[in-house]
């Protein structure tokens, strides 16, 4: 924990809200200059972890350091070295984009001239110069998020925390935010990013920690995790449940692991190696068997499958639904 190469180091963090345990021995280390993705379903404890690391929330046990400073006893110094992008775009919706940045800059105790210069630099960098005078409430979701990001970068923070930065954004907004984050990372900022989306972590993170029930249950590079999870999957939906065994047999010819059959949805599903070859093979096999499938699709594993694989049980939401 004493090593200075860790931008974030948390050890055995525990946090309870009444009878609910939000964090249950949460460990995490993030090396300086890297992007760490904290991946997990709703309620896994991602936001709680971020709120503790950004000094917004007290915790019941364990210890945490950010930029080499103790989060509990050196909170004021920690706040000098971090930027936070919360779940909402935390900007003043009445003020203009530039007014927002100058105000937050002044609250960071930048001189008035420095705050204005810094605001203009950041507006330029995030492509908001033309919208600088408009109220932030009139911005698109992606623009507001970029302004939010600019506000958290006023002091050039050592560590930037992004809590579900693209939740609620359309694909274009997501791309805008991803581009902005990639630019930061190229500049050497350490980023801790929480997300529910496997592809977001995949796009941005050097390392991913998967969190469930308040603790990290797996970590590694995106490649390492994906290879543990198997690659693409093929889904075949048949018209009649009676055709499932034949379809399962066809899919099993290309499956690289167990073929799963779900009678309720009349779906056969299995991980495959070579995407295109597998698809061709399955279509031919179904045709030979005289089966007309309702749907055939190749897809990436979903987060639910990631969890199923990592924990041997479905996520809470699925378990409740079942």
């Amino acid at each position: 924990m004493t090593s200075t190469t860790w931008a974030v180091a948390a050890e055995g963090l525990r946090k309870r809200y009444g009878t609910t345990t939000a964090l249950d021995g949460f460990d995490l280390t993030v090396r300086e200059g890297t992007v760490c993705g904290l991946l997990g379903p709703n309620g896994a404890g991602k936001t709680t972890a971020v709120r503790i690391l950004t000094t917004l929330l007290r915790f019941d046990g364990g210890r945490a350091e950010v930029a080499g400073l103790d989060v509990a006893s050196q909170a004021a110094q920690v706040r000098h070295r971090i930027g936070l992008l919360g779940q909402h775009a935390a900007v003043d919706e009445v003020l203009g984009g530039r007014q927002n940045l100058v105000m937050f800059g002044r609250l960071y105790h930048l001189r008035a001239t420095t705050a204005r210069r810094r605001a203009d630099e950041l507006l330029e960098r995030f492509g908001l110069r033309d919208a600088a005078g408009r109220p932030a409430g009139q911005y698109s979701g992606g623009m507001r998020r970029r302004l939010d990001l600019a506000a958290s970068l006023l002091l050039a923070p050592r560590v930037l925390f992004l809590d579900e930065p693209t939740t609620g954004l359309d694909p274009r907004g997501r791309n805008e935010v991803w581009e902005a984050v990639r630019g930061l990372v190229a500049g050497g900022t350490t980023v801790l990013l929480t997300t529910q989306y496997l592809d977001e972590a995949d796009q941005l993170a050097d390392r991913i920690s998967v969190i469930d029930h308040g603790r990290v249950i797996a970590e590694g590079s995106p490649e390492q995790l994906k290879s543990r999870l198997g690659g693409d999957r093929i889904d075949v939906v048949v018209r009649d449940a009676g055709e499932l065994p034949a379809a399962a047999a066809a899919v099993a010819r290309v499956a690289v692991a167990t073929t799963e059959v779900d009678r309720d949805t009349r779906r056969v599903s299995a991980p495959v190696g070579d995407r295109v070859a597998a698809l061709t093979e399955v279509v031919r096999a179904l045709d030979d068997a005289g089966l007309a499938a309702e749907d055939i699709a190749l897809r990436r594993p979903t987060l639910d499958e990631v969890f199923l694989r990592l924990t041997g049980r479905p996520t809470d939401e699925e378990a409740t639904a079942a």
Partner: protein, 276 residues
Amino acid sequence: MTTTDTPAIPRTPLERLHWAILATWTITGRDLDHWVRQPAPVLVALLFPVMLVLMFGYLFGGAMSVPDGGSYREFLMPGMFALTMVFGVEATMLAVTTDAARGVTDRFRSMPMAASAVVAGRGTADMLGSVVGLAVLLACGLAVGWRWHGGAGDALLAVGALLLLRFALVWVGIYLGLLARNPEAVTAVQVLVWPLAFLSNAFVAPATMPGWLGTVVEWNPLSATVSATRELFGNPGWGGDSWVAQHALLMAVVWPLVLLAVFLPLSVRRYRRLSR
């Protein structure tokens, strides 16, 4: 990445105070910018009491009787001044709740700034707004024939009593704002202000009400400020037989201090509980 001359962290209490004052001023300036950017709600807030004066002064005023036989509009204006201070709670509450719901409060809390500055800036802006609102309504009063009959010193004391009530209510607004989960909750307060207003001596003298109701009305904190304002401005309708009516000036100081003593610690506690 461009270099930013990162300011040093304040170490001495004096430096911390300096930072807190600068931050308070920044937050106040932000709220004043809101008025410039969104003048419509400000105008509505300024003109709504004027409309009430016209409505009660001219529409219902003919049917109202003032115990000492004075002019109803002279009786009404101190009530309207005090009521305008109460309306301010909604503005405070709305601003606090909106910041919390939009995550702006969390951003402030994650920044190296004094927590007190958020609240102090809010309070300063609200007090400035109330001074403007009061000035508009004083001018409106003069236009409808209201006058003060005492000295300038008493008149200033009356304004002081009104602003003291507003200052206490800033903390009520901050507490309710931190308590509310979303800005829509402000509507409830907007509705609840009316029973408080009608159960006071702002519109009607307690002497004309059934005995028990008159007592309830006289003990309403709003009534104390209204009575004191009437007394200091020399307007009709103050005084009465009960102890509380006899000591309106005292109660106009005591009630706001009681509200402060309750809601200031509650607000601080609620703000701290955000980190639970």
